[in-house]
Point group: C2
Chain length 148, copies 2
Amino acid sequence: MNYANMLSVAFAEAQSGFAEGGVPVGAALFDATGKLLGRGRNRRVQDNDPSAHGETDAFRNAGRQTDYRDKILVTTLAPCWYCSGLIRQFTIGTVVVGESVNFEGHLDWLKDAGVKVIEMNDADCVALMRRFIEQSPQLWFEDIGECT
Amino acid sequence: MNYANMLSVAFAEAQSGFAEGGVPVGAALFDATGKLLGRGRNRRVQDNDPSAHGETDAFRNAGRQTDYRDKILVTTLAPCWYCSGLIRQFTIGTVVVGESVNFEGHLDWLKDAGVKVIEMNDADCVALMRRFIEQSPQLWFEDIGECT
């Protein structure tokens, strides 16, 4: 399974989100053969939708599935509690994480629940997110529910 | 604060969802004064959207908020991991739960994170959900990611 190629789909979504003035987190859901089921990005700004994190947007765009145990969710940034809860509730089998430097998420919680977590430590993901947080700290804190 | 009146808003959403052939879970988000910010219901069937649980739909419809610590989320059914993660990430201060008989959720996890949880043990909520699960067990299991 070529996780780097999969991550490039999520990263392209993050780049589009950044260009749109949004929170640059992208994600994509793949089946066990590596076929793309859905891709998406954070849409807080674009759609005035606080429920659309990158992971939930990709999950939504993949439509209804009956079994996620063999699915692979790729995200440019470590999932927050909201997206970690999504992964755990729907028993998504594998999560590929672009980076966990700018936000560390709850990867141990996912691993403890049996999720296979693959950390890519991708420099491009780190750089894009860092640039965004430096430019728009208020928007970033809003997106993760942190009051300043 | 009249939690029973607030729950009636969420229950009306659940009833609408049932009438539409959907998963009958409704929710609503209120501010600290009891003003309704957004209401919604599970839209898996109606919108082919697996990301739209009742809680997330109400959260979405309330639009962007900068602080949820004084907000009240009312839901007809105990939140799953996905919706519990939403509550925890955005630090929603109070959660009013219609019932936790048909699905017990993770109320202790929320309480441990500092969320004020109010259990209503509402007979109408229990009866509607029970009727749905008996009629449509496959749809229910799909909605909570349980494979049969």
